[in-house]
Amino acid sequence: MLKPKMPVRLNAAEETLIAQLTGAGDSAQAERLSVTGLPTRRVESYHYTDLKMLLKSVPPLVGAANTASAPALRLAGAYRLLIANGEPQASATAPAGVIVGSSDGAALSVHDDVLVRLNTAFAKKSLSLTLEGTVDPIIQIDRRTEGTAAHSASSARIFVADDSSATILETYSGSDEAHLTNNASYIAVGRNAQVTHITVDLSSDGVTHFATNEYVLAEGAKLRTLAIHAGSALARTQIFAKFAGEGAHADIAGLNLVDDGQHLDFTLDVNHAVPNTTSQEVFKQVGRGRSKAVFQGKIVVARDAQKTDAKMMMQGLMLSDQAEILSKPELEIYADDVVCGHGSTCGELDADSMFYLMSRGISRAEAETMLVRGFLKEVLDPIEDAELNEALTAVVDDWLVGGK
C-alpha cells in the first residue's frame, strides 16, 4: 500500500535557494526543490557528499563585479578570458582561429542533477568560444567571484571545430569570502579534433565550489582532461563525458588535494554510447589533516558500443590518520565485446622509501614532499606544454609545502 510521502523539512540553504529561484522567475525549479530538497546521502550520486547536510547556507545572488582580484594563475603566453561574477567580460583581440562571443542562457545539456539544474536556472549568460585550426596560445578562462560573499553561476560553451586542436585552462578564484559558485563548461570536440582541458580550483578557504564539465566527443576526437582541486571548503567537480562518434579517445584525470577541514568530490560519468571508443581515467587523491576526499566514477557502455576499451583507476594517499579517502568506481556494461576495468587503491607513504630518503639526510617533510610529488607525476607528466606543466606543478608544490 502506498503511503503518502512526508514533505521534506527544508533547511536554511534550501529556503534561500527556493527564494532565489522564485526571484529569478523559475517557479518550476523552486517548486521542485521545495518538494525534493537538496540531495542527501540516500541519493546514490551524492552518497558521499550529502548536500543537505554540507550546505549550511547560501549567500545572496551575486551582483556585478566592482572590484577585481588577481588571476589565480598567470601564463605568459595564454589568451585570457575573464568571467567575473558570472558575467563574461570584454577581452583583448582574439588570436587566429578563436571566435569569442556570449549567448543568453546556460550551456549544459539536461541532466537529472541538482547542480546542473541550479546552474541552468541562474547562469544568465554563457561565454561562447569557437576554436578553429591549430589554436596556438593556451586559452585561459579565468572565472572569479568578486566582492562580498555571493552565490554566483557561470557558464561557458566551447566548440572545437573538426580537425582542430586547442588547450584550454580554466581557473576559479576570487575575493576571500564564503562564496557559493556553480560553474559549467560544455565542450564539444569535433571530428578528429584534439583538445586538452584543464580546470583548477584555487578558490579561497571558505568557498563552496561546484563545477560541471560536460564533454561530447565526435568521431576520431581526442580529449585529455585534468581537473585539480586545490582550494575551497567544499568542492565538487562533475565530469560528464559522452562518446558520440567512433574512434574517439579520452584521457580523463583528476587530482584531489584535500587539506584539514575540506570536503572535495570528483564525480565522473563516462558514457561510451557508440562502438570503438576508448577511455582511460586516472584519479589521484591526497588527504591531509581531518579531511574528506571523494571519488565516484561511473563508466557506462551502451548496448551497441562494442569494442569499447575503458580503464579507470583511483589511487589515494593518506598523509594523516584522520584523512578519509572514499572511492566508488562503477561499471555499467550493456555490450558484450568490451574491455573494461577499474581499480582502486589507498595507502600511506611507503615507510621504507621514507627511511631511505631520510637516511640520506633529507628531512621528513621534504621526503614526504618528494614522495607525494612522485605519486602525482603520472597525472601531471602528460601535460606537454612546458609553461602549463610548470604552473600546475607549482599549484601542487604550493599545496605540499603550504598546508593550512
Binding site: A351, D352, S353, F355, Y356, L357, M358, S359, R360, G361, I362, S363, R364, E366, A367, M370, L371, R373, G374, F375, L376, K377, E378
Partner: protein, 253 residues
Amino acid sequence: MTNPILEIRNLHARIEDREILKGVNLAIPAGELHAVMGRNGSGKSTLSYVLAGKEDYEITEGEVLLDGVDLLGMEPNERAAAGLFLAFQYPIEIPGVATMTFLKAAMNAQRKSRGEGEISTPDFMRAVKEAGASLNIDASMLKRPLNVGFSGGEKKRAEVLQMALLAPKMCILDETDSGLDIDALQVVSKGVNALRSEQRSMLVITHYQRLLNHIVPDVVHVFSDGRIVESGDKSLALQLEAKGYADFDSEPA
C-alpha cells in the same frame, strides 16, 4: 688514544617481542675499517638498521655514539647530517623520484645542516660526473627514477656514488657484495677503497669472506645471536671461511 668515530655500548634492540641485538659492544677508531661477519639471521642487518635509525626497532638498552654524540635520539636524517651513511643491502626503488633530483636534495639537505648554501647546478653536475666516472655510472643510469630498473650491480654502484657525494665520516656497508658478479664486485670495492681515509671509518657487514679480499679490513668481528663473540685481524675471516660459524656459536644457556 683518540675517541672512536663510532662507539656502540651494550646495545639491545627488539622488533615486536623478539630480541635481536643482545648486547653489542664495538668501537671503531678513525680511519679504520671493521668487518662484521655472521650467518644469515644473526642480527647483522638489524645492527645496520638500528644504527641508521629505522623505526621498526625498539632500543631497550645501551647507547651509540658517533664522534662522541649520542645517535639514538636522532631522526635518520639527523644521523646522516651527523656523518653516518648506510649503504643498503637492498636499495629502495622509488618510482616518481628522479635520481638526480634525489642526489641534489640529499646533498643540499646536508649542506643546509652544516649552515652552507645550496650547491650550484654546475658544481653539482661536475661532482656527480666525477664521482660517477670511476664507478662506471653513466648519464643514462642517472636519468632513471631512483633505483628503478637498476640491476643489482647498478644499485650497489649507486649506493657508493651517494657515499662519495655525501662524504660521511662513518660508512656502514650492509651486504654490499650480495647480488654482485665478480666484475661488479671489483668496481664497487674499488669505489669503497677510494673513499677510505684517515678521517673516515667504515663498518662492512657481510657473511662471505669474498668481499674482504677486495676490501681488506683492519679488524674482523664475528657476530652470532645478536652480539659480537670474537674479534681479530683479517685472518679471522679466513678462519671462518674454512671452518664455518659453528665454532663461534654461543654456548647453550
